[in-house]
């Protein structure tokens, strides 16, 4: 069974601070996706990383896929209250089938 552990589980910070969320596994994934989910809504895809070592930037968000494609990180610079939400990583197995294994989740709260 593939597991994706995220850390931290909860994070409460002040506006303007930086933060990093980690997503770790002992399994190799063909791709990894990051989602943000707000209460009452479904997860919204932020980014997909495919190549080991790949770095993608989306405004203040920086995503990195580990060289061995077993882990990933999400770094947010100068967090804003609008960044508040549940962040989920999800890995697609190398065996195909398009199934995603979701991480344990990181609940982020950014306060004024």
């Amino acid at each position: 069974t593939q597991l994706l552990e995220q850390s931290p589980q909860f994070l409460s910070i002040q506006e303007g601070e930086n933060l990093t969320v980690y997503c770790n596994s002992s399994s190799v994934f063909s791709s990894l996706q990051w989602y943000r989910q707000e209460p009452g809504e479904g997860p919204v895809l932020l980014v997909t990383v495919v190549t080991g070592g790949e770095v993608k930037k989306l405004k203040r968000l920086t995503f990195q896929f580990g060289d061995a494609r077993k882990d990933s990180s999400l770094h947010i610079t100068a967090a804003q209250p609008g960044d508040t939400g549940l962040y989920l990583c999800a890995g697609e197995s190398t065996g195909g089938g398009n199934k995603l294994t979701f991480g344990t989740g990181t609940q982020l709260k950014v306060e004024l």
Partner: protein
């Protein structure tokens, strides 16, 4: 990106009854997925539903409890049968569109 709607958005049901959740997509898609999520926690895949074939269930989920229909490329239903309080959860459908997954807003089910 695909736009997905779900009905109902929420429901309160008595134990022993069944509820059918509908998922409608604004475009034709091959693969649809059904997930379960406790509020603020990770997503667990229930089954994959491809049009024209039987749904494929994940470990711990069976067809008798969660029958799924997929009559065409834009629609699917998930039934939660003979409900118990343990079935209280958020149920989400998702679709794969150009190698990325998009989610509906979810159905929040409470079983009393």
């Amino acid at each position: 990106s695909a736009v997905i709607s779900q009905k109902p958005s929420r429901d309160i049901c008595q134990r022993g009854t069944s509820l059918t959740i509908q998922c409608q997509v604004d475009s034709q898609v091959t693969m649809m997925f059904w997930y379960r999520q406790q509020p603020g926690q990770s997503l667990t895949l229930i089954a994959t539903a491809n049009q024209g074939s039987e749904a494929t269930y994940e470990s711990g989920f069976v067809i008798d409890k969660f029958p799924i229909s997929r009559p065409n490329l834009t629609f699917s239903t998930l039934t939660v049968s003979n409900m118990s309080p343990e079935d209280s959860s958020i149920y989400l459908c998702s679709v794969e569109d150009v190698y990325e997954q998009y989610f509906g807003p979810g159905t929040r089910l409470t079983v009393t």
